[in-house]
């Protein structure tokens, strides 16, 4: 009896010792040197693995940051969800400048609500923008406008997008939006754009993507950009931030100073601002002054 115990203990003990040796040797021989800074930087990042930085998840970003720090400059890297705060922390950690990257936010470029771009046909298929987009032009008839099925709402990992039941359009919560770009990818019509938040959250943008001729665009939507150029004329005297291409105006966010003077001149109210735009001079009133 005692022999059995002895033998088993011996056999197992010898086997265990042998395996331990093998494991020790292999672990030593094939060990991967990981920079301890990578895991520390990963800790500092938000840890949501959204990929907005362009790297595969937060640890990917961390190794990129460590590599960049070794070459002495991390100012070109940015973590949009983490924002300025996170990047400054990381900069302090490395003793380098984090670079002055402006905070950004996702912006919807369509104003074709249920009321302003009324439905001309009735779609009763599955509620998916991607599917509706590949099926037909949309209930309003605008082939570029919002389809209102909320693919962006589903795609947003932060719950920052909600569909407004009255207008039918998605709304971005500036507080929650980290400008990760999930909505930009999810929208089959590319209606979202990542734009700078702007000083005091003042931003102005063209709320339309329709490139059709004015007469066609207006038939489907009351607030379509018709490419008339009045906004460009106004802006040309100030900062030349507006360009017009294919019947569509675009406000360059890097040049725009957020004065809002283009907002009231737009005859179709296609330009919107996050603040009360200045009242136009009474003489130059174009039909009805716009309120966002």
């Amino acid at each position: 009896m005692s022999q059995i115990i002895l033998y088993s203990v011996l056999t197992l003990g010898v086997a265990a010792a042998a395996f331990a040796t093998i494991l020790y040797v292999t672990a030593r021989k094939f060990s991967v040197e990981e920079d301890p800074r990578v895991s520390e930087v990963t800790e500092m990042l938000p840890g949501i693995n959204c990929g907005a930085c362009g790297f595969p998840g937060c640890s990917g970003m961390a190794s990129a940051l460590v590599d960049a720090a070794d070459s002495g400059d991390i100012s070109h890297l940015n973590c949009p969800p983490g924002g300025q705060e996170t990047m400054k922390n990381i900069g302090r950690y490395f003793g380098l400048d984090a670079g002055d990257i402006k905070p950004t936010v996702a912006v919807l470029r369509c104003g074709g609500s249920c009321e302003l771009a009324p439905a001309k046909s009735n779609y009763d298929g599955p509620k998916s923008c991607a599917l509706a987009h590949s099926t037909f032009a949309g209930e309003s008839g605008c082939p570029i406008g919002c389809l209102m099925h909320g693919d962006c709402e589903v795609a947003c990992p932060f719950g920052a997008i909600s569909m407004n039941p009255v207008t039918g359009l998605p709304e971005v919560d500036e507080e929650k939006c980290t400008s990760c770009g999930a909505c930009v990818t999810a929208c089959p019509r590319n209606l979202f754009e990542i734009r700078p938040v702007g000083r005091k959250s003042r931003r102005v943008w063209v709320n339309c993507r329709n490139t059709e001729p004015a007469i066609v665009a207006k038939r489907n939507c009351a607030v379509a950009c018709i490419g008339c150029g009045l906004c460009k004329k106004t802006c040309d005297n100030i900062v030349q931030a507006i360009t017009i291409e294919n019947n569509l105006a675009y406000i360059d966010p890097d040049k725009c100073i957020g004065c809002g003077k283009c907002v009231p001149v737009c005859p179709t109210n296609a330009i919107v601002a996050t603040f009360e735009p200045p009242k136009p001079k009474p003489k130059k009133t174009v039909k009805e002054p716009a309120a966002t």
């Binding site: 599955p126 599917l131 099926t135 037909f136 008839g141």
Partner: protein, 461 residues
Amino acid sequence: MQKLKTFKIGGVHPPENKLTVGKAIEELPLPKEVAIPVSQHIGKPAEVVVERGSEVKVGTLLAKASGFISAPVHSSVSGKVKKIDTVVDAQGYRRQAVLITVDGDEWEPSVDTTPEVIEEVTASAEEIVAAIAEGGVVGAGGATFPTAVKFSIPEGKSVDTLIINGVECEPYLTADHRLMLEMAEQLLVGTRILMKALGVTRSWIGIENNKPDAIEHLQKVIGDKGAAGLIPEGTIEVLPLRVKYPQGGEKQLIKAATGREVPSARLPLDVGCVVSNVSTAIAVYHAVQKGRPFIDRIVTVTGKNLVAAGRGGNFRVRIGTPVQALVDAVGGMPEGTGKIVMGGPMTGKSITSLTVPVTKGSGGLIFIDAAEARRLTVQNCIRCTRCVGACPMGLEPYLLEKLVQAELWEDAEREGVMDCIECGSCNFTCPSNRPILDWIRLGKTTVGALQRSRATVRAGK
């Protein structure tokens, strides 16, 4: 009685509703204006060769083919080019088109407009394919694949059978049925032309057994022509088929007629077959024998409410005619219409505007009652596998639906999403009213784009 042939797996039996079968083909009055889209076929859009203000006649070339898979577009009316602009297509997207103001009905002198049937086929195989290409003939069954490309057999492939598709398995549609009754002689000449182009000695005309009059009529005409020495015995045969949807699918028809199965991602050519629609064969006859390009087609205008009111019928319509003109021809839209479908009720598309022009592929216009058109409440998939049993391609539609919803494109590709022929049998049979095909279509679009980008990357390397 001999057991009728059909394809082996899947298939459904939608109510036939062939309401307009007794109505002879009528000529639709010329519209005031036509809008002829430059892309009415699969492949590259044609290039416009006319200008604003150009005078055109019936048969004048408007746009020439650009690239190998493409087809030219001809004027279907005589008049003046009003402008070259975009018009709304069936899906509501705007596509380039040539708008022509109609003035009289003058034909190009090269077109033979006499009604006599020219029986003798003098053109050689190459000349036939060239004439088909010049005539802008595309698959008129709805797929609109350029016919000339289909009949240019690549080297190393051999074809031994031509199948003429007179199945018309889509409910409601009767255009091909009427053509077989009224233009049987032209159809047979067209068949002989296509046989000559392919160099085959055997062809079948597949017709479902629910058209006994067409089967009988064609058999009689073939007998008469055989007696006159035009059709050697056993070269063209009518093949009655059991009624089952989608018998008219190319691959299903080949299986039914020859027992051969077209492998996944391959063409009928790979099993030595070429399939062509009845109306395509007649268009080929016109292009080769009469020099008349593809400028009109037969459209069935139907619907339960419409026919109940004693209206509806089969019309010969010039390409580019707005749907509104067809609606006017049948005395307006019937009351209670909830949806207008262009094409058949199973594979057609509902249109969002009455300005949509009739194109080379539109075989029907169906007014569906609002109550019938409504989709029923979608419920959960209960894994009953009825869709699996109904799928004529042997796919698992419920699985494909789930994979597409989950955006697992590679898995969907592996499960054969690209083999789907979009017949709609799965949607039709689903007891939970799930929009299975809608999702599969999205999968096909996305996987198709993936495959193309992969091919581009490979070619780049």
